[in-house]
């Protein structure tokens, strides 16, 4: 017994030494699934049936798959939009607003730029990237010049951006032929293509995967990535090492926000085809738990997929078993709480084991 205990202690210590945040993320996801199971049971449904319904809703049939993949694109990019600035020491809670502004900007270009499709598409993508970055610019400016905490200012921007978007879709961008608040549908030639053509896979998926890989490479293999992580890890030390800390921070935040804007553009041009009431769901907010759990761009890709499945499948779970879809929100926050608790707890236990 003491033997195995001490061995468990050594194991635990080794676990802590290697800082397995990925193990922790996996564990917290499993714990959360367990909690989900219990909640479904509480709601009076058969958990197995509910989960099956969820997965079927996410994968069965081309439409479901296509929706899941599109969700994956949005959630992954939103996750990167949180992760990259976070690594530089900026907690970007404003992904939602940046994404919405990206969609609005893309819609403006598509509606008002008289250009042939490829050109208009390129312009729209540029516009959404710029709009995303611009939306983050205000909190960034307030942080740099006023020391304002970005956690509050980016959230204020979310609400302001949402209302601005509504003003647009019920005002200047309103589709005259629609009965509800929306922009006109993207004309056929101006949409993001599917690849391979005719499949259910939006080309934006490849872009998102590529961007995630690129972000991973950028963070771990380039000088800029090293500087970015240094600024996030210890700003003063980075400054003393000759790194232009503000410039790195600005680049990181704008880069992240641009990705959120791009997510908006991608969804508008390839999936929702309209900027409408509720079109952006909570993609930007989901990016926060995805980034915290994923921990690295590749992790974001992985966790983003899981969250996309949950997001799409939850509707079918609700429809088929009556379990409220609101459960998905629980599942978005809970793993992060468990992850943080496990991480901090293990760190403590690790210390305690070390001390003995």
């Amino acid at each position: 017994m003491p033997m195995s205990l001490s061995r468990a202690g050594t194991r635990l210590r080794r676990l802590m030494k290697t800082r397995t945040s990925i193990t922790l993320a996996g564990m917290s996801l499993l714990f959360s699934l367990l909690a989900l199971w219990i909640c479904v049971y509480l709601a009076g449904a058969d958990p197995y049936e509910a989960l099956t319904a969820m997965f079927r809703g996410a994968f069965q049939g081309r439409w479901a798959l296509r929706t899941t993949l599109s969700e994956w694109v949005a959630i992954t990019l939103s996750g990167l939009a949180v992760l990259i600035p976070y690594r530089a020491g900026f907690f970007n809670v404003g992904g939602q607003g940046q994404l919405e502004m990206g969609g609005v900007a893309a819609a403006v270009v598509i509606m008002h730029l008289p250009a042939p499709p490829p050109l208009a598409l390129a312009a729209a993508l540029t516009a959404c990237v710029l709009a995303g970055a611009l939306t983050a610019g205000i909190p960034l400016l307030l942080r740099l010049s006023r020391g304002a905490s970005e956690v509050t200012t980016t959230i204020m921007m979310n609400f302001a951006a949402m209302r601005f978007m509504y003003a647009m879709i019920t005002g200047p961008l309103q589709d005259p032929g629609a009965w509800y608040g929306t922009t006109p549908i993207v004309p056929a030639g101006y949409r993001l293509p599917l690849f391979p053509p005719g499949s259910g896979i939006p080309v934006s998926l490849f872009a998102a995967v590529g961007l995630a890989l690129g972000a991973w490479w950028l963070l771990s293999r380039t000088v800029f990535g090293l500087h970015l992580r240094a600024v996030g890890g210890n700003r003063a030390a980075a400054a003393a090492a000759g790194i232009a800390v503000d410039r790195v921070l600005i680049k990181a935040v704008l880069m992240g926000a641009a990705l959120a804007g791009l997510a908006g553009g991608f969804q508008y041009l390839g999936h929702t085809l309209r900027v409408a009431e509720g079109w952006s769901k909570t993609w930007g907010l989901v990016g926060i738990p995805v980034a915290l759990l994923g921990g690295s761009p590749l992790g974001v890709l992985l966790v983003g997929f899981l969250f996309a499945v949950l997001e799409t499948g939850s509707r079918s779970m609700q429809a088929l078993t009556g379990v409220p879809a609101a459960l998905v929100f629980v599942f978005q926050g809970l793993p992060v709480l468990i992850y943080l608790a496990l991480g901090a707890g293990l760190r403590r236990m690790g210390d305690a084991v070390d001390a003995k």
Binding site: T222, R229, A237, A240, A355, K356
Partner: protein, 515 residues
């Protein structure tokens, strides 16, 4: 009206610690230490850095829980719930090396804080003020009771700490390295104060690594070494030499191969009338001029907080100087960015590595090349060359004897001494032309200290100009060709190696003598 607080001798406590063990990770900070302190004595607790002096006393004060061992106060064993609060109500007070003061509160508020109770909505401010005032005068303190603690001098802050302890009725005072931040004169005053405290029946434990102070003030001396209690002897029955022998493990003489290089006559770094600070406040650096040549080490002495940090940071570019010029090998770099200064061969060893010396989450290899990451061989066109980084790390690990499982572990996994080696290694790598070294050996054990001193000298003999800021006068005397003394943002004295004299340096540090 001198107020005699309480007849101490009745309540004076005897302290007995038995078999105290405490580990931090794999390090045994205390290894079965037993210590008895009698009422009314002044006990010096001496030992090298890391010997466990502070750890032992924080256990006594209830801030740390020992892994094993017993603690008896006035003959009664304390329970598991031993805490600073209980220690204080038992009459034990501790003054930490880093003061436990709230900078934004006033002196009076800080002194009163331990007396306040959550249940007592309205403390009798007026009565307290009167008593504190009286106590302050009794011990000869001149403290502005309504001034913010953050705004008074370090020496005064220490007085606030002592006052705080006395006002709580502490009869057993623990002082952790109280003289580290004081001028020699302030130190003398403090030691005299200890005598007065003893006369009133207080017991004092003085943690120090300066033997002179221990012998000047203490009745008995306890020597700790590597977590073990070596001996306790009455002062009159021993000599500093004997105690020093007990403090260090083996015979070790710091200056075996420290031969300073011949300094060159030209100037490498010239600083003229440098001013740092804001308008409405006292200037932090007030018109400093200095010059260092190649192969020369120039020391900067001074009591902490007299502008040394600001001067160093202004030279490195972390602070913007208001006026003055800094010329490196003929080029004025006053307006340059930190990066450009680094490129031209200026290196920096910050005084607090946690604050701005390293990024704990980055790996050893990444930290090591952080300031050179943009230049070959560590990167090409913005992409890191991980092989070159690994090579550099391996070399450093071998050269500096860094204990680490791998160059790819985060810095936070290294011990403090190993972290400092990496920080120094980074600054001294790649042939620096000027090194601004701030407290490079602070908090290190003997061998690490010796090694880093050796590297500094070696670096100088390879042609670098080194400006060494240190609070250890012995270190400066040992390593420097010349020494500058700073007081209130000015250089008040300059001494050559031939006429280094601790007494004169001390007077200069307190602003009383200028050369």
């Amino acid at each position: 009206m001198p107020i005699n607080l309480n007849p101490i001798s009745d309540t004076a406590v005897a302290v007995q610690m038995e078999g105290i063990c405490k580990s931090f990770g794999p390090v045994k900070a205390l290894d079965s230490v037993s210590l008895t302190v009698e009422p009314g004595e002044i006990r010096a607790l001496v030992g090298e850095n890391g010997a466990g002096k502070t750890t032992l006393m924080t256990v006594l004060y209830g801030m740390l829980r020992p892994d094993r061992g017993q603690l008896r106060i006035a003959g009664r064993e304390v329970g598991r719930d031993w805490s600073p609060k209980r220690a204080m109500s038992a009459g034990i007070g501790m003054i930490h090396q880093h003061f436990s003061l709230v900078p934004n509160h006033t002196v009076l508020e800080n002194v009163l804080m331990p007396q306040l109770r959550w249940t007592r909505l309205r403390p009798e401010w007026a009565r307290h003020r009167k008593t504190v005032q009286g106590l302050s005068e009794q011990y000869g303190f001149a403290l502005p009771l309504d001034g913010q603690v953050g705004a008074i001098s370090v020496g005064q802050q220490q007085q606030v700490e002592i006052l705080k302890m006395l006002y709580q009725g502490a009869s057993f005072l623990i002082m952790d390295e109280p003289t580290a931040v004081l001028t020699p004169q302030q130190t003398d005053a403090l030691l005299a104060l200890l005598g007065r405290l003893r006369a009133q029946g207080h017991t004092v434990v003085l943690i120090t690594h300066k033997l002179a102070e221990a012998f000047a003030a203490a009745d008995n001396i306890t020597v700790l070494r590597r977590g073990k209690l070596i001996t306790t002897v009455p002062c009159e029955h021993t000599t500093p030499q004997a105690v020093a022998g007990a403090m260090v493990e083996r015979d070790w003489s710091g200056d075996v191969d420290l031969r300073l290089p011949e300094r060159e006559t030209s100037w490498r770094l010239e600083v003229k009338d440098l001013v740092v600070g804001e308008d409405h406040r006292q200037l932090e650096v007030d018109g400093v001029s200095l010059a260092i040549g190649p192969r020369e080490i120039v020391g900067v002495a001074g009591v902490a907080g007299n502008g040394q940090t600001e001067l160093a940071e202004a030279l490195v570019g972390l602070r913007i100087a208001r006026a003055g010029t800094v010329v490196l090998a003929g080029q004025d770099l006053s307006a340059w960015s930190i990066a450009r200064r680094l490129q031209s061969g200026l290196r920096y060893i910050p005084e607090n590595r946690h604050l701005n010396g390293m990024v704990a989450d980055l790996t050893l290899a990444e930290n090591l090349i952080l300031d050179r990451s943009e230049s070959p061989p560590f990167s090409a066109r913005g992409v890191l060359n991980r092989r070159a980084m690994g090579r550099a790390a391996a070399e450093t690990i071998a050269d500096y004897d860094v204990r680490t499982p791998s160059p790819d572990v985060p810095m936070s996994h290294l011990s403090g001494g190993n972290q400092q080696r990496v920080v120094v290694a980074r600054a001294l790598a790649s042939r620096p032309r000027v090194v601004i070294a701030c407290q490079p050996t602070r908090g290190l054990d003997i061998s690490a200290t010796a090694y880093i001193r050796k590297r500094l000298v070696q670096c100088a003999s390879e042609g670098a100009a080194i400006l060494l800021f240190s609070s250890e006068i012995e270190e400066l005397i040992q390593l420097c060709h010349r020494m500058l003394v700073m007081y209130r943002g000015r250089v008040v004295g300059e001494l050559d190696a031939s006429n280094f004299d601790t007494a004169i340096i001390g007077l200069m540090m307190s602003g009383q003598v200028a050369s």
